[in-house]
Amino acid sequence: MKRRLPVSAEKSDSPGRIALRTLVSDKRSWIASIFLIFIAILAIFAPVYAHNIAHTDPFNSSLNATIHLHGKDVPVLEQSTGGLGLGVTPIGPTWNFSKYFLGSDNQGRDVFARLLYGGRNTLMIGTLAALLTIIISIIIGLVAGYWRGFIDSFLSRILDVIWAFPVYLLSISLSVVLLTSGLSIGPIHVGAGSLALPIIIIGLVYVPYVARPIRGQVLALREREFVRAAVGSGAKNSTIIFREILPNIFPSVLVFVPLMIALSMLTESALSFLSIGVQPPAASWGTIINDGLGLLYTRPVVAFAPGFMIVLTAVALNLLGDAVRDALDPKARLRGAL
């Protein structure tokens, strides 16, 4: 969406200010930001809800727990009494914030409390993985684009190799391998159940998708007059990179941030759904969907609630990404590169 700016602003304000003003005036960015802040606050206060309001431990099985509801004690997992008495059904949504608001899962755990904790992990992994992707991509893009030649060819071929594998295939393969023994690089060891594993895996598999456009932009910037002038005036490479090139690729990087968070979050959810992401008893939205898979007929809310959250959050991040893109560079079509 292209927006026309006031003539006075175009004359007096810096590009950053103009972009910020454009972003602030975009309703999509407001809606998306408010929703994301709301989700983040809910996730941050998950322990407060679990311990002080619901009085539950969402990571411990409570198969024999009972709650007091409508004047009587009700088991959280109820043995069927009709017919042959087959099966045990978890309690459904009570719509009471202080006890099993969204009901229970198969382990007798509070689904709403796990949903909040799951949001923490999903958003944290999504955000950190996206930042990891972007940091690595900036380094690769700058080095390959600025020095060109052999270094560029070498780094580009590595990116090609990673790109050759579908993202999900590669991340599933890496997860399956690393989940059994963890990751050891020299003195650094990441445990098999650590949340750092999905962050590293997701962070790495998306690098080619961000590094390539950045490299292309650096290659173009390298030929611009102001860079040539800096080279001609004898400026150091580090000075040129950090003072001349990096500030100019920053807007593009900013556009990538929300989009990469959304993609990383979706990948994390997929891996956790397949039991190769976040490991039990920890929760993520993906693991909760997996928990609810066996309850689709009796307690569909267990699977639908986290699914709903994933959809809303991904939509919000994409809206924000679009708004940032329009604000920073209305002509950019960086999403096409993804």
Partner: protein, 569 residues
């Protein structure tokens, strides 16, 4: 035997055959034998559905409950387990043999006479040469139980070392003129009749391949033969044109004209197919969220039967923290078996137990040393509730608190939930537990291999045949522990020399004094559980869901539902 996964040679278990003087074949069955065949109900196509096929169709290779169920109606051995209902189905009856064997030479010689006039489904007559070749074939194809069930046959040792050239000239002596078959054993074996009655001992034509036949169909002798088999699609059984009933309790005529087994449906889809009469029976366990629906709307089509099986947690007694008996006892006290029953589907589908031998099994004694208020020395009659406080105290006393523990489970829904529960319990009593779900195809062998350093796992055991030794000696005998092997069924790595000697003595006693032996097995069970190499959780029941158009349901404690006895009209 595990429920559905083709697995395990039971290694060198049961290798010590012991004495028998004169052996009576069948346990005293109290439940009903099979009613006479009623031709007016014959006909139709029985439709069975399952998520997946069970691998090789070769009866000497396949070791799954899924196909052993079908072999009952297709293949025959010299002996077999009886048709009928209830305990009657544990009885061993003569099948291709005229009668139960005459046992002599201190239990080391079994003499059979082959029935005359029986033909394979390709029209060839069954001869004593086929019988001898079939026993040699057990070793030639490296049957999973070759080294455990049949290694007591004279000459078996050489066959195990050089399978391709296996000859049992001294072990299986046949006389074509008289039809006599003499099986010579190295030493007496109290369970030999049961071992001769399972599918790995069925009689195939001498021309059957000396390797795993895979999807190639081997001619049958029973009421049905296999017409086609595509593991990705279906298995079709039709009537054997050469079949004539010879022993109604061993191999009765079947009712359906054809039995079609279709693969590839999820358990959810299977339930729906049976509900809609698109299928007559489903193999896989009913998903937890459909149980209530079946129990209320389709109650008349549901059959729940006891199984001689158990879900249990082997604890590796050779590595920390479970190399400390107090740590193992703590797990036994901490397990809320009622909670695990809930995960399995509720009290109608499973019952909490503490003892190693399942209820209604030879040697079983009602006791529980790991319930609130009881100790292994002063056990209660049954499990009542978990004792978390005592469990925490035992962990503290053992000095193992804070140890990292990996719980290895199969990655299917129910096993994973069991694992999550166990992880929660271990964390609650002071360990740092992590869950390691791995593919069901490899989990059972993975947890057997000591190289994988598995500390605790969740697994199941379903009987091969009704004898206490099939549980205690197979799963916890010293001979079953083979470090570094995928076929080390004693997953706990437990080897108590004193108790091992007592188990061998009980096997020996069982050949002459079944009641006395069972009493001894009961005592051994309690002595082993005092050491707590495993934590037994519950004994499951079998649920069959059949369509409204089917009748004449009969259940075998050995092979589950008799598919060939289902009537469609």
């Amino acid at each position: 035997m595990r429920r559905s996964i083709a697995v395990l040679a039971l290694a060198s278990t049961l290798s010590m055959g012991i004495f028998a003087s004169t052996q009576t074949a069948s346990a005293t069955g109290t439940d009903a034998p099979l009613a006479a065949f009623d031709a007016s109900h014959a006909g139709g196509t029985l439709k069975l559905v399952a998520n997946a096929a069970a691998g090789s169709l070769d009866p000497k290779i396949n070791y799954t409950a899924q196909y052993w169920q079908l072999y009952q109606a297709t293949y025959d051995g010299l002996l077999t387990f009886s048709y009928g209902d209830g305990k009657n189905t544990f009885n061993v009856v003569p099948d291709l043999a005229v009668a139960l064997p005459k046992i002599s030479n201190g239990g080391k010689t079994l003499t059979f006479t082959l029935r005359k006039g029986i033909k394979f489904s390709n029209g060839a007559p069954v001869t004593v040469a086929d019988v001898k070749a079939s026993f040699e074939r057990i070793f030639k194809v490296s049957s999973p139980t070759a080294g455990s069930f049949y290694n007591g046959i004279v000459g078996a040792d050489a066959c195990l070392k050089a399978p391709s050239t296996c000859k049992l000239d001294k072990g299986i002596v046949v006389n074509a003129a008289t039809g006599s078959i003499i099986i010579n054993l190295v030493s007496p074996d109290d369970a030999i009749l049961s071992k001769l009655a399972v599918p790995h001992a069925v009689i195939n034509p001498a021309s059957a391949p000396s390797k795993d036949a895979g999807t190639t169909i081997i001619p049958t002798t029973g009421a049905y033969m296999f017409k086609s088999y595509d593991p990705n699609k279906s298995l079709i059984m039709v009537r054997n044109p050469y079949f004539k009933e010879w022993n109604h309790q061993a191999q009765p005529a079947g009712y359906p004209d054809e039995i079609d087994y279709t693969f590839g449906l999820t358990a959810e889809a299977q339930v729906t197919a049976v509900e809609n009469n698109q299928a007559n029976w489903m193999y896989d366990p009913v998903p937890a969220d459909r149980l209530n629906e079946l129990g209320t709307k389709y109650a008349s089509q549901v059959h729940v039967n006891p199984l001689t099986a158990m879900w249990y947690l082997p604890m590796n007694v050779n590595i920390a923290p479970f190399n400390n008996v107090k740590a193992r006892q703590a797990v036994n006290y901490a397990l809320d078996r009622a909670a695990m029953v809930k995960i399995f589907g509720g009290s109608q589908l499973a019952a909490p137990v503490c003892s190693f031998l399942p209820p209604n099994f030879p040697g079983h004694v009602d006791y529980c040393g790991y319930t609130k208020g009881a100790t292994p020395a002063k056990p209660a009659k049954a499990w009542g509730s978990a004792d978390l406080a005592l469990a925490k105290q035992l962990v503290k006393e053992s000095g193992t608190a804070g140890t990292a523990v990996g719980v290895v489970v199969s990655d299917d829904e129910v096993n994973k939930q069991m694992g999550e529960y166990v992880q929660s319990v271990l964390n609650a009593i002071g360990y740092k537990a992590t869950l390691k779900p791995i593919s069901g195809n490899i989990q059972f062998t993975y947890i057997q291999n000591t190289k994988n350093k598995v500390q605790i796992s969740v697994t199941q055991w379903y009987q091969d045949y009704p004898a206490a030794s099939d549980f205690l000696y197979v799963l916890l005998g010293c001979a079953s522990f083979t470090p570094g092997s995928d076929s080390s069924i004693n997953m706990a790595g437990y080897c108590n020399k004193t108790l091992d000697a007592k188990m061998k003595a009980a096997i020996l006693q069982g050949t002459t004094d079944a009641a006395g032996a069972n009493k001894a097995w009961g005592a051994i069970d309690q002595a082993i559980m005092a050491d707590a190499p495993v934590a037994v959780a519950f004994t499951p029941k079998n649920l069959d869901f059949i369509s409204s158009s089917t009748k004449n349901y009969h259940f075998s404690l050995q092979y589950k539902m008799f598919v060939d006895q289902i009537q469609l009209k």
